[in-house]
Amino acid sequence: MRVLYPLVNVRYIPKARMKKLLRLLPYTRPYLPQMILAWASVFVSGALVQFSPALVRFALSEGLQPVYEGDRFIRLDGNAQLLIYSALAIVVFAIGRGLTQFGQTYLGESIGQGVSYDIRNDVYDHIQRMSYAFHDQMETGQIMSRTTQDVENVRMFFAQALFRIAYIAVLVVVSLIFMFIINWQLALVSMVTMPIVIWRSVVFQTRVRPIWLAIQQSLAEVTQTADEALTGIRVVKAFSREDFESEKFRARVQAQADLNLQQAHAMARNQPLLQGLGMAQVGLTVGVGALLIARGQLTAPDVLAFALWLNTLQLPLRTIGQLVNATARCVSSAERVFELIDVESEVKDEPGATELADVAGHVRFDNVSFGYNNVSPVLSGVNIDARPGTVIALLGPAGSGKSTVVNLIPRFYDVTGGAITIDGRDIRSVTLESLRKQIGIVQQDVFLFIGTIRDNIAYGRPGATQAEIESAAKAARIHDFIVSLPAGYDEWVGERGVTLSGGQKQRIAIARTLLLDPRILIFDDSTASVDSQTEFLILQALQELMKGRTTFVIAQRLRTVMRADEIVVLERGRVVQRGTHAELLQQEGLYRRIFDLELKDQEEALGRPVASRRPDAEPPQDRVGVSQEAE
């Protein structure tokens, strides 16, 4: 797979950039009619806007014609009708331009929204099907920023930059044509500040952008500092470090304020200047125009029209910098987004993959090896034969490859050597969906989604009935707890909902897996983190879950694995020991070492062994030694 890390600081090659921009084209295709209308609106509205000053000029100069005798004004030769009609035309034009301006903004927005909607869906669909290997490498934050901020940048380009730039161009061209027709000398005078304004506006944007980014970064630091200390307030208070934390926070806030000020200075150097230049341009044009009037080469309505044109141009010219910048941002953002879409998952359905159905649950690892790279294999030469309904326990120190073994079964990763078969069929020859439907996983880190408890239990089977959900919850020994909550199954978990303990979460995960009714079960044990009573409940739930299913258990503590049909001890990706508990205890080795360590712990705890309280205690028939009567 392609490594995505370098992208963060990549320097883009201009040629490739254009190509990326072109790749956006297909996304605009569904919005072709809107595109055409938007472009039409751009030209029509731009022209109509700049016709208004011309109409004002026409109304005044045709409606009120001063009659001169030599230099002396005699009387006003008026045409009331012309005056009224042309003045009313201003309103008519305004309505037309209002409609087209509205159309332009609205269409731009809907195209932008449409394109970003499609892109987001594409990215989401793609990303959630990517293999674990991809998600191991990509940070969630990275994907988030590409799916949110970068897609937003693309949207802004369509919603604003693309049409605005064209619109401003139309404004400038149309007004210049009018100006040159009326008086080319004054038109030239009116253009004096234009290049400066455009230039300053672009330069300003390129200067202020890095500051703006630094401010965002700084704000993130402010947030992070506060988050860290407020989340850890117990520790802060326990060590009496409130003053220290306050000082740290103040320093961060001050740093952000300094950057804010830096940005403000950059703006203060620019914006007032541009505004002043705009005013100066009007002053210059009007002054020169008035001189031309004095010479009889121009009329007052001409000068007024010039002033109106200059006024309409002022603001748009100043925004050019922003628009240019938005375009550049769109290009690099599009690139980052496509990079994400282009990454192919190395785990996907093979051509001709078939459905995996009616599974008995015979899982075989045939000389399986796996590695992220060739240098250090994570697993090598692993053989496991799990007959239907048996329990395989995986044991070994951290980093020995236990989790990798179970992650290979649902093809979260693909083996790099050997093969895994289920009922004799290579798992790569069946569809991913049908394969994963057969497998239930209870992960160590139970991830609950924001929603009700019911939603979470039914997560893998959204159509499950209340009765089914409840019976799964009962089997998982969590039903009693759920009904004790004020809202029962409708209680929310996650951010704003009820806080669950690790054991409760795990039992919900067990219920959720039970509801899936998988043939093959993977259980990543984390019962180390719960109190004895909870552990008891979990073991009971687990026992329910394992009934009649081929089960792989990753265990932290021996008591979970002692009754497994086979215990596979892993060390550095290799199987170093295998057998039943009794067999393994007879051998010197890792298993014995772990056993002694835990036994010692227990011995210390017990001080002296407790004889079974129930002499009649039946040897439990189940594979995990749990007393059924405990509850």
Partner: protein, 649 residues
Amino acid sequence: MAMWGGAGAAGWSTNIGGGRMGGHRGTDGWDDEYLGKVYDAEVVRRLAPYLRPYRWQVLLAFLAMSVQATTSYMQPLIVGFTVRAGIRHDPRQVLLLMGVLLGMAAIGWLALFIQQITINTVGNKLLVQIRTDMYEHMQSLSLSFYDEMEVGRMISRLTSDVTVIQDLLTSGSLNFAADIVGLVIVVITALRLDWQLALVTFAVVPPLVAVMAYWSTHAKNAFVNVRVKVSALYGTLAENLSGVRAVQSMSREDENSRRFDQLNRENRNAAIWAGMLSAAVLPAVELAVAIATTGVIIVGGLRALNAVNVDVATLFGLLTAFTLYVGRFFDPIRDLVLQYTMIQRAMAGGERVFEVLDTPPRIQDRPDAIELDQVEGRVDFDHVFFHYVEGIPILRDIDLHVAPGETIAFVGHTGAGKTTITSLVSRGYEVTGGAIRIDGHDLRDIKRRSLTRHMGVVLQTPYLFSGTIADNIAYGRSEATREQIETAARAVGAHEFIERLPLGYETVLRAGGQNFSIGERQLISFARAILAAPRILVLDEATAYVDTQTEAIIQRALRELLKGRTSFVIAHRLSTIREADRIVVLDQGSIAEVGTHDELLAAGGVYANLYRMTYESEQAARETEALGEDAAIARRRRGEVPVQAAGDA
């Protein structure tokens, strides 16, 4: 102003993100969208003190603003004069007026420059001031406050709410004032130039304002809706990315795609609707300008045509000035309407900021609280009662007297009150009945800081700060030398793994130490606790998440750590509990039993029961598997002789 109140946090819900899997969870919350009054006297009164130190700068900014507004809004008048001078064939006056126009441009530039620099300097000082005040106040609040409040909400108070206030106090109020000044100038000038034309122009204002006001309420809702949709969309995205493994393992991709598409579509439609509303503003204002322009031209033109005596220069000068004014007249009106919402938002933000500042710390030092210099470590619980909510007691009549250096283990089911007791000792909460005394002093008579200085806490989940390992170990004693840090690390058995790191003690912890295993993090937090050399130590399930190997290391460290200190230990591992001098068994908030392991086991009460629950199953398993023999061998190897337990009931 709403207070936070005990049970809930009515005024505190924020625009939550969060993908919602099915339906909405009631209609509470969303108070970020709650808009305040336009003028909230209370908020303004409270903000005033913050501005006082900067009154001269603020005055300067307002002066500069007035100058700038004047130059800007007087321009059409001067343009009119210039045109008049041109028609009068007076090039000298034209040049003079052109000079005035250029001069005004320069003055306007300078004034705006001064205004922006001044107000931004003040604004950023306010930002630092308000945020720091809030932050210090937040830290002073008791733990029960933190139990109720999500950190995310506090942070949004610190960031976005303060920012809107800063905007209001600085650029917001200035722009507002500038609009008012501009409006006044335009109205007065227009009326003085020609009251008839002025009235024609003003006639357009009421319908425009009505339309804009109507529009702005709709737009406000539309934009709020967009914010809600966006955060729902992004929340779902973030959640599904974090949970992608769970999603894939349950083959939920199609269902999730469908839901994501739904949210994505809702977001798009909401945004398009809002976009449509905002696209309508400009055309509306421009239509108003066009109507007013037309009115001025027709009325002014016809009047001139019908007049007996016309001064053509004045006429065209006037028409020029007026036409330009019409364009200017509507800008401040539009701004004011738009700012209405912004000011409302700032007032609401202000309310929330003061809510934070007004929350009284539930635990405050008495004015006559004493400084605790030396602590021997005697802790007395005198008939202590505690509840969070009236009527739901958490602890009942706890009477326990702990001698200096004694180790007390608390045992009990989840919810028995174990953690609460230890939190009371460090005064994270205040007792609601009875008293806790340290060396005979009631906790409430001691300055809190001087109390916590003598206490060390190791929590179930190790909480570390970003920074180096050395920083973290020295967290409670920043003046500690490297030797002291290493000694502390050695004492708890953390030195070994730290030394193996390429950067050793200078290794940086990322994201709260996520680059270390939980066991390693716990070792660091043990070192941190021991370096602080507390007289009283609280271990709250400190080894719960740690694997067997690490636990063995910690067990050794524990003996070192507990030596000579008064210690309160909560643990589920009996090996830890057994070593305690006394075991206190809590049951539903009361002390059920007190005694040593052996005593309690012999008594056959709650403890014996709990104990059996934990170990019996293994015991049974062991025996049925002929494990008893193996265990016996193992025990014999260590020279221990198995004895029958006395705890049979």
